[in-house]
């Protein structure tokens, strides 16, 4: 079980709980604004872009090459960007804070 907080575009933090599956699916199930997950999580749409809190980045780790290539062409990408369909929920993610990219 992990509690994950999403900070949406209007700066409103929403904390939700998940057990398994991807962080994108958790966000979509909870109607987190700005996470659409159009491609269902196969890394093809970039509608699940989040910025990970700097000091927590090691929890989720680096993106794969394929994911980095997607992020490279997203104008709001920074060093802490991830496509959250590529992050699996585990207990270790408890307390994770993600800012939805705009």
């Amino acid at each position: 079980m992990a509690k994950i907080t999403f900070i949406t575009q209007d700066n409103i933090p929403v904390t939700v709980e998940g057990e398994s599956g991807s962080v994108m699916a958790l966000a979509v199930d909870n109607n987190i604004a700005g996470i659409d997950g159009d491609c269902g999580g196969v890394c093809s749409c970039a509608t699940c872009h989040v910025h990970v809190a700097k000091d927590q980045f090691s929890l989720v780790g680096e993106a794969s090459e394929i994911e980095k290539d997607m992020l490279e062409l997203d104008d709001s990408t920074d060093d802490y960007s991830r496509l959250c369909c590529q992050i699996d929920i585990t207990d270790e993610l408890d307390g994770l804070v993600l800012t939805v990219a705009g």
Binding site: C39, G41, V42, S44, C45, D69, L73
Partner: protein, 385 residues
């Protein structure tokens, strides 16, 4: 060769050169074949514009057969973004429960109907019907309109043998003119009326802008959906074990949809016009010349996709570009994905197997390449469970 297969004609040229050249009515095109280059070019709208002369970014070019600018397709940022902000919410309606229920009713009825027949011509009697009925939901227009559109046949935008015969499209243009005018007199709850009432950047839309949006909604969602659905039927006909697998593992249906759409790439390519002298993967591109973003080739890029020529239903990492990439990514993708989802759910529930009786492939000629994009004719027998 198995009939569902869609061979990759770009393989060698993609690996050795990355680009290819094709002529099209004396307005040549440099085809961009690698995934990374396709994505970069699609993203770089300043150098590779969509807002050129109407019809020029389409291949074969439609410059000689139309003047109406298709919107948002032939508009560049920032105005493009304003149109998308207006249109995006409407085109996300396929995610709503009510929309899904109605689409499901339509597709179930169609599948039940074809199950009764000894022989079904998939393109005209299944895919076109499915596409037309589904479009009434997307436009939120009267269901009976579908019969009019089905009556136009599969070749309403181009004659079968002469892609530059503009007369064909007149039927659609006149129809859309009449629809906009009648919605202006008696407002309804459909897309025409929504556009008539809307503003973009503080201004009401002109008649031609509304027409440009509606034409694109008809044109962009017709052959693409027909190809996606017809190829999917051919795939399941020759891979009955896949129907069984999806029945047993419904959790992979989402991935299966993306994979079928990657593999079949229902839209082969789309053009852009260079605004300055530039280059793509070391090939010089002159200002005011055309390039194409070859989605079909990019989807088979072996530097990104493992076993790119195989349909791997549960492919986990699948950064395909069948719905385009970046600013102009497909506005109808939510609708198209919902069609695929409900089609597969319905086939799993009601169909045990599909037999292909005979077929005629639809092969596009693109310079040195021939690509199978779908079928002109696919006669099948659907067998019930």
């Amino acid at each position: 060769m198995k009939k569902h297969l869609s061979p990759d004609p770009f393989k060698n040229t993609r690996a050795t050169s990355g680009c290819a050249h094709m002529d099209d009515q004396n307005d040549p095109v440099t085809m961009i074949l690698r995934l990374k280059d396709v994505r970069k070019t699609a993203h770089n709208w300043k150098t590779f514009q969509s807002g050129a002369t109407p019809g020029r970014i389409v291949i074969p070019s439609e410059v000689k057969i139309r003047d109406t600018r298709q919107i948002p397709f032939e508009v560049d940022p920032p105005l493009h973004g304003s149109f998308r902000a207006l249109l995006d919410p409407w085109f996300k309606r396929p995610l709503e429960a009510d929309y899904k229920a109605k689409l499901s009713t339509q597709i179930k009825a169609l599948v039940e109907n074809v199950l009764k027949a000894d022989k079904v011509e998939t393109v005209a009697e299944f895919s076109l019907c499915l596409q037309s009925h589904a479009l009434t939901l997307l436009l939120n227009t009267d269901g009976s309109e579908a019969d009019t559109w089905i009556g136009w046949g599969t070749h309403v935008f181009r004659s079968e043998h002469d892609p530059l015969d503009g007369n064909k499209a007149a039927l659609l243009y006149d129809y859309i003119d009449a629809q906009i005018k009648s919605a202006a007199i008696n407002p309804r709850h459909d897309l025409y009326s929504v556009l008539l009432a809307a503003q973009v950047d503080g201004k009401k839309l002109t008649f031609d802008e509304i027409k440009g949006i509606m034409i694109l909604t008809f044109a962009g969602g017709r052959d693409t959906v027909i190809n996606a659905v017809t190829n999917t039927i051919a795939y399941f006909a020759e891979n009955p074990e896949s129907l069984v697998r999806l029945r047993n593992e419904p959790e992979i249906i989402g991935r299966a949809i993306e994979e079928l759409i990657r593999y079949f790439a229902p839209l082969t390519q789309m053009g852009r016009v260079a605004t300055e002298d530039t280059q793509v993967c070391e090939h010089a591109i002159a200002a005011d010349s055309r390039v194409s973003l070859c989605w079909a080739s990019a989807n088979r890029d072996e530097s990104v996709f493992e076993s790119p020529d195989e349909v791997i239903l549960d492919r986990k990492l699948n950064p395909h570009v069948s719905f385009g990439f970046s600013h102009h990514n497909c506005l109808g993708a939510t609708h198209a994905r919902q069609i695929m989802r409900i089609l597969i759910d319905t086939l799993i529930e009601k169909v045990s197997s599909i037999d292909i009786l005979d077929c005629e492939e639809n092969i596009e000629t693109l310079g040195e390449f021939s690509r199978k994009v779908g079928f002109h004719r696919l006669n099948v027998k659907f067998n019930p469970r």
